[in-house]
Subunit: 397 residues, 2 copies
């Protein structure tokens, strides 16, 4: 049994610059996106564990006693977890009746939940009993880090219940963040969840969902930028399906075919990420219209470069044209070949302009959200900090 | 008096790759374009020199005796002509009543004609008397080397009359070319004509009009490629006016503003020119559909790069979209900011497709020609080789 009720949230992520180039050792900037995943954990008096994922209409209940035998014999050292506990992973698959081919969002979420739950409570006297309800503003499978936000929420909530991290005091604040060391632990466990779901994730998505703000990523090294501004954006999902694996392979082929042409393009993208990082750090002090002009120019240039390396798509070209007609600058974000695009808004961009652009994009069949980037990572919420929308979802379950 | 009647022609030029990058020490490929300037020289029995330029509605007649006093005291050494003969240039301006501000096409053409005429015949016993009629398929001021084609035709015709170069035998052929050494002399004198018209030309335009084919240009060195294919193209003039000087300055500013981003883009353009050169030389042996695919890909990439360095224009974007809708690939050519675009056609591109694209481009208000690149440079024509169109123009004067 568990006595704590809590609500946590974690943001989505987008790539501001450096997608694809990062595969070839260049700098990428990953940013948190204020489309958040919310998790509510409530104690259960009845000795069951319940997982409720209304986004994917997945609802599961297990008797704690049935999960007990699946527990690993001893707790993993979170600072030394290179690989998943493959024995535990296999036991969970067998228990749930999944094969290696079971890859749907719902099943993967269940596996990640059980893996984190059983690992974190491996050495607890008895497994706690609670209901976890997760509701996300993020579309799944769109490259916006929805699985990482899920894993980070799971890790933060369960580590807090287990006591490995200290629940930050909410006091008079409506939200609170864990201390740096606790966030590191949360990030480690969330990374395990990501491995369950994705096999060999880069670790960027869970880092963004944990730390928030903006992260610099290069050759496997992830560094949160110390001071960054929060920026208004539009995030658009063209809903054109894409295969990241095929797109990455296509870029590799192009580099092999035209090394003297594509090599410099990757160098130029590196320059864009580094120039953007410098600009953002200047903006954290005092943002001027010139800073916004530079950010816009960098987006335009990178969008051309992404076309050059072969990951553009007419749907994104269309997005760019629609927004540019209103003076707004866009680029694809993530794998490309359709997928999502990001549009920078200035602080003074008229909301009527924004609304008309959103309408036009929706008319194309795209999903479109006005949101922010550079927002806080995983956080604990007071009930009063919750929007009516999310509360109403939680209260339905 | 002069006894020879002759018709010569010289092609226009376009930049296939490397425009703007060439200013920063990168390779450019300049190609001859089969929109030609035709010059007919006819002896006059009446002691006059007549220049007829129906394209610009310019018609001038001088008594040879009035030109006699303007002659330079001795002939220039054509192999050692770094600069214009400024005294002669000034005498001609005074004679024609032009100031330093007189820069219109008509006046510049007259000055170049008189400069070349008086220089080439500087040491002749008496100035010859003839009528020169020039008709061009090239639009003036569109960056297509119309002034160079004019200067090359003037130099070739007058050097042939004067005897410094030998008229190539036409025999049974309908056109003939001068020998290499004679072409060098023609090119030197044409360059002088270009200096009269443009002040400080690069020498590329007259080299293309002289040698034809495709030239590699880098850091002031101009090298004709030894074996190149002739390629079908569409050449489109958006007629959007542009200032080459302002565009070049804009690129310089962008490089200064974002050196780590723009430097690699110039390197990539260099890679495009070099890859294109290799591909063209392979194609001269045996052209395959794969070669055409590479040429198309290089055009697409370079078009993006030209947008990135800031010389793109919506009119050219529009051209690219219209042609791409029919599977044809385009890029701007030359200074950009509007101006001209080039579209590659494959040998098998259906003429119905080409006609429909041309119609659509003309509907946008653009001028559009189906022509070829990589064509012969300056040549001598038999009457039978002339098209009815050009002959009918010549016969009207």
């Amino acid at each position: 049994m568990c006595n704590t009720e809590l609500i946590v949230s974690a943001p989505g992520k987008a790539i501001l610059h450096g997608e694809h180039a990062v595969v070839h050792g260049k700098v990428a900037l990953a940013v948190s996106v204020n489309l958040r995943t919310y998790l509510r954990l409530q104690p259960n008096p009845d000795g069951t564990i319940r997982l409720q994922l209304p986004n994917v209409e997945a609802f599961a209940t297990w008797d704690v006693s049935s999960l007990q035998p699946l527990r690993p014999p001893c707790a993993a050292d979170p600072w030394n977890m290179d690989k998943l506990d493959s024995a535990l992973f296999q036991r969970l698959r067998d228990f749930a009746g999944f094969t290696e081919e079971t890859l749907d969002t719902h099943s993967m979420a269940v596996l990640a939940f059980l893996y984190i739950y059983l690992s974190i409570f491996a050495e607890s006297r008895e497994l706690p009993s609670f209901t976890v309800t997760v509701w996300s503003e993020l579309p799944p499978g769109a490259g916006l880090g929805s699985s990482a936000a899920f894993s980070v929420c799971l890790a933060a909530a369960m580590l807090s219940v287990q006591g490995s991290v200290s629940l930050p005091p909410l006091d008079t604040e409506s939200t609170a963040r864990w201390c740096k060391q606790d966030l590191e632990l949360i990030n480690m466990w969330a990374f395990q969840g990501e491995k369950v779901i994705h096999g060999t994730p880069s670790g960027v998505d869970n880092a963004v969902a944990t730390w928030g703000g903006i992260l610099r990523y290069r050759a496997g090294n992830i560094t949160p930028l110390s001071r960054v501004p929060m920026l208004r954006i539009l995030l658009t999902n063209t809903k054109v399906p894409r295969s990241t694996k095929l797109l990455v392979a296509g870029v590799r082929d192009k580099i092999k075919k035209f090394p003297s042409i594509m090599g410099p393009v990757l160098d130029s993208i590196d320059g864009i990420s580094i120039t953007c990082e410098q600009t953002l750090q200047e903006m954290a002090g005092h943002a001027t219209p010139e800073h916004y002009s530079v950010l816009e120019e960098l987006m335009d240039i990178n969008q051309h470069h992404l076309d050059v390396i072969g990951v553009g798509h007419t749907s994104v070209d269309h997005l760019c044209r629609i927004t540019l007609a209103q003076g707004l600058h866009s680029k694809l974000t993530g794998a490309g070949g359709g997928g999502c695009g990001i549009t920078l808004l200035r602080p003074g961009t008229d909301s009527l302009v924004v609304q008309s652009v959103i309408l036009e994009l929706k008319d194309c069949g795209y999903d479109c959200w006005e949101t922010s980037i550079g927002v806080p990572g995983v956080q604990l919420h007071s009930m009063s900090s919750m929007t009516a929308d999310v509360l109403s979802v939680f209260n339905s379950y």
